[in-house]
């Protein structure tokens, strides 16, 4: 396929990403590998000694693994929102960031269910879900929804990357191993950039972006119904489905901003991912934060105002500084108000501050998932008099800590490796956005690449 000069320009700019690694990258890579490898002995121990090595017991039988599961599936909304909605709206500034967004979705939709598998007692009976599956159970809904969503995201990511695979296949100047060329050739499916093919890709992308939005909503609703369909205080809430969807979009956007900031620094993409992107996404984050804060407020106000015994017991546990109070303050107040202030007040707005606010958001959302799951389990309807005193409160064991951190390292590692395989900025779409790497950068406020446009 014919590669034009703008694209060549961009390719030459991105080549170092694909075949070399800077010192910083190497250091980070090794750190992540260490954490990933640390997960294996923990897995081994858990497999052979049973789940007794975790902090879960008969009262709090869903612990940090389920928190991580919900968290990662929540993050996966990034792809659906940015790629899907912004594609349909034909917004120009989405182009540099769609691949980052979609990759977040794919990796987290793979990583999340792995945590479920870690929490299941009998992995050797996984096939029972298929041969004996009951569709009345929210877990079956979840299995079906997440599988469908994963396949849909992979298809969407792939469709958006076909053109880049074709470019990489045809670019003579690419210095990578033979096996990589073979992969590019395989994935490019003989794409020759004819008008008809371009039209087909466009049609596929449109269909997928339409489908993926309701699909993501269904996935997160179904996820919330695993909790919503039980009779426990704090879980049996009618707004759980929209609450989870909003929280998911919120956390997904936060992760996207952080990823943008990381790649910007790592690959020196300051002129491509500009302050404009951060500002726009920051505003989206702000709106979502307000929406999320609204849902939180409505939920807890209703529970507190009514006099129901167990709901109140749970609320007081959340307000009690000796129990979950600090976590609750962080998740419900700091996590919502701080980003709103930072992004809402123009004086505080900057790329770094927006990224910092997103970091707060992401951590707060993890803590929020913890607050949803663990306190409810520590507030059963019947007093916890049947178990040992040490089983009443949940605390993470070192195995759970290692596997949590290890999972995060796996996330970062796979994201990084992907960016080495395919340029993280879609070359085919944003070639004209790539400025002269040796020349002056555009001013803040410019849409990048505008100064390079001939038209």
């Amino acid at each position: 396929m014919k590669i034009d000069s703008a694209t060549l320009n961009a390719l030459e700019r991105f080549a170092p990403q694909l075949n070399t690694a800077s010192l910083l990258e190497k250091v980070l890579f090794y750190i992540m590998m260490v954490f990933v490898l640390a997960g294996f002995p923990a897995l081994y121990i858990q497999h052979f000694e049973g789940h007794y090595v975790t902090g879960m017991r008969d009262n709090v039988f869903w612990g940090v693994y389920i928190v991580n599961f919900i968290f990662y599936i929540g993050i996966s909304y990034a792809g659906a929102l940015i790629s899907g909605i912004l594609y349909l709206l034909k917004v120009e500034w989405r182009k540099p960031i769609i691949r980052i967004a979609e990759m977040i979705t794919v990796i987290s939709t793979i990583l999340g269910p792995i945590y479920i598998l870690l929490c299941m007692g009998r992995l050797d009976r996984l096939h029972h879900l298929i041969i004996y599956g009951r569709i009345q159970s929210p877990i079956t809904w979840d299995v079906i929804a997440i599988t469908t969503y994963l396949i849909g995201s992979i298809i969407f990511l792939y469709l958006a990357t076909i053109q880049d695979f074709a470019i990489l296949r045809d670019w003579k100047g690419l210095k990578v191993g033979k096996w990589r060329h073979a992969w590019y050739r395989f994935f490019a499916v003989s794409y020759q950039d004819t008008p008809r093919q371009r039209q087909l890709v466009h049609r596929g992308l449109t269909i997928m972006s339409i489908i993926i939005i309701p699909l993501a909503v269904i996935v997160h609703s179904v996820l919330s119904w695993i909790f919503g369909m039980t009779l426990r205080p704090g879980w049996h809430s009618t707004i759980f489905a929209p609450y989870f969807v909003v929280a998911a979009v919120f956390s997904g956007t936060g992760v996207l901003i952080i990823a943008m900031w990381v790649y910007r620094k790592l690959y020196k993409l300051e002129d491509i991912i500009t302050e404009k992107h951060f500002r726009y996404l920051g505003i989206i984050l702000l709106v979502l934060g307000a929406l999320y804060g609204y849902f939180t407020f409505a939920e807890y106000l209703t529970n507190w105002y009514g006099s129901e015994k167990w709901e109140l017991e749970l609320i007081y546990k959340l307000f009690d500084l000796n129990e979950f109070g600090w976590m609750f303050i962080f998740a419900a107040f700091v996590g919502v108000l701080l980003p709103i202030i930072i992004i809402g007040v123009p004086y505080f707005r900057s790329i770094n501050s927006i990224s910092f606010a997103s970091l707060i958001v992401v951590v707060a959302m993890w803590v929020k998932r913890y607050i949803i799951i663990i306190p409810t389990l520590e507030t059963p309807l019947l007093p916890m008099q049947e178990s040992r005193m040490e089983y009443v409160h949940y605390s993470m064991t070192w195995i759970e800590w290692i596997l949590t951190i290890s999972g995060l390292a796996v996330f970062c590692l796979f994201f990084y490796l992907y960016s080495k395989f395919v340029p993280i900025i879609p070359v085919s779409e944003s070639a004209d956005l790539v400025g002269n790497p040796n020349g002056a950068k555009g001013k803040d406020g410019d849409i990048p690449g505008e100064q390079n446009k001939n038209k």
Binding site: E49, G50, H51, Y52, M56, R57, D58, N59, F61, W62, C119, M120, G121, R122, R125, L126, H128, L129, Y132, G133, R134, Q136, S137, P138, I139, T140, V143, I226, F227, M229, T230, L231, R232, W235, L312, E313, Y316, L377, P380, L381, L382, P383, M384, Q385, E386, S387, R388, M389, Y391, V392
Partner: protein, 323 residues
């Protein structure tokens, strides 16, 4: 006229009289007889007290309690008998936290001490209401939340009202534990230690023995005992006759000593079901603690510290009312 009893060799009355004097004599020489005798056949070394249907308290070897082999097919074990409807009635006026029901159940089903299938709670509904002891087996609800949410159908409701667990099918997701509002289910977090006497049990839905690691367990109303025409272990074990069990279709429930009509018992003693408003429609009825046989404080006597401190936390919580 009935024939008068003539002189007999050794009439029962005389035996009793002499027995009494023997008893006094041996009481006087207490501590002199050895205690090393063993029964001729196999034993597990653990003897537990069980009350027989005549109301006698006997101690038998723990291993003997669960000898029923798997006599029913898998299909039958999942369906049950449609002409029975098992129901339990618990008399809160007589419970004193003797915890013999808990011990017997754990021995019968080879459970570790931290897994209790029948639990005894110390309940005080509010600051000024009187506390009471609350034995709680699985309620075998008629609208069971746990059955609704199981993704593989490992827990199911039978036609005879029992909710059982097939621990060959359970995948250990613990969703049923989340769905059950009554904290009835326990999880096997580690490989259960199987006593030698139970090693040849290959496990069946109706026995629940042996438990499997990574699966869920709960009270099953001992369907294997019902097949032998016996009451569940906890019923027979209770020294105060607190637990009654029977078939609602026959309208009879028994606590091992007396048998009464279920409808009469509920009517006269104002039986109710716990947390009826949750809509799960339990199969266990409670008789309110009126005209109690024991003061609730009796339940704390001679309790091992580890068990006592569990109740203490709740007791201190109840005293302070929120708001």
């Amino acid at each position: 006229m009935s024939p008068k009893k003539s002189k007999k060799g050794f009439s029962r009355r005389k035996f009793l009289k002499n027995g009494l004097s023997i008893g006094i004599g041996t009481a006087g020489s207490a501590g002199m007889l050895s205690s090393c005798a063993k029964s001729e056949k196999k034993e597990s070394g653990e003897r537990i007290r069980v009350m027989t249907t005549d109301g006698k308290l006997v101690e038998i070897d723990a291993a003997q309690l669960h000898e029923l082999e798997d006599v029913v097919s898998h299909e039958e074990a999942r369906t049950g008998d449609p002409n029975r409807e098992y129901v339990m009635v618990i008399d809160l006026a007589k419970c004193r936290n003797a915890r013999i029901c808990v011990d017997v159940c754990q021995r019968m089903h080879n459970l570790p001490p931290e897994d209790e299938w029948i639990k005894v709670f110390y309940m005080q509904d509010s600051e000024d209401t009187a506390p009471y002891w609350f034995p709680k087996p699985c309620f075998h609800c008629n609208s069971p939340s746990c059955v609704n949410v199981c993704p593989v159908g490992a827990t199911f409701k039978r036609l005879d009202g029992l909710v059982l667990i097939d621990n060959e099918r359970c995948i250990g997701c613990k969703f049923c534990m989340a769905a059950c509002p009554y904290s009835s289910r326990v999880f096997n977090w580690r490989e259960p230690e199987i006593k030698d006497t139970m090693k040849d049990h290959h496990g069946a839905i109706e026995t629940g023995v042996p438990q499997k690691v990574g699966t869920v367990g709960k009270c099953d109303f001992c369907p294997d005992m019902a097949r032998m025409g016996k009451l569940p272990g906890c019923i027979e074990a209770c020294p105060n006759g607190v637990l009654y069990y029977g078939d609602k279709h026959e309208d009879l429930v028994s606590n091992g000593t007396e048998t009464v009509r279920f409808s009469d018992l509920i009517y006269e003693r104002a039986g109710y079901r716990y947390m009826e408003e949750l809509g799960t429609r339990p199969s266990v009825y409670y008789l309110p603690p009126v005209n109690r046989s024991f003061d609730p404080e009796v339940g704390f006597k001679d309790l091992p510290d580890e068990i006592r401190e569990r109740y203490d936390v709740e007791r201190s919580k109840i005293k302070k009312e929120t708001r």
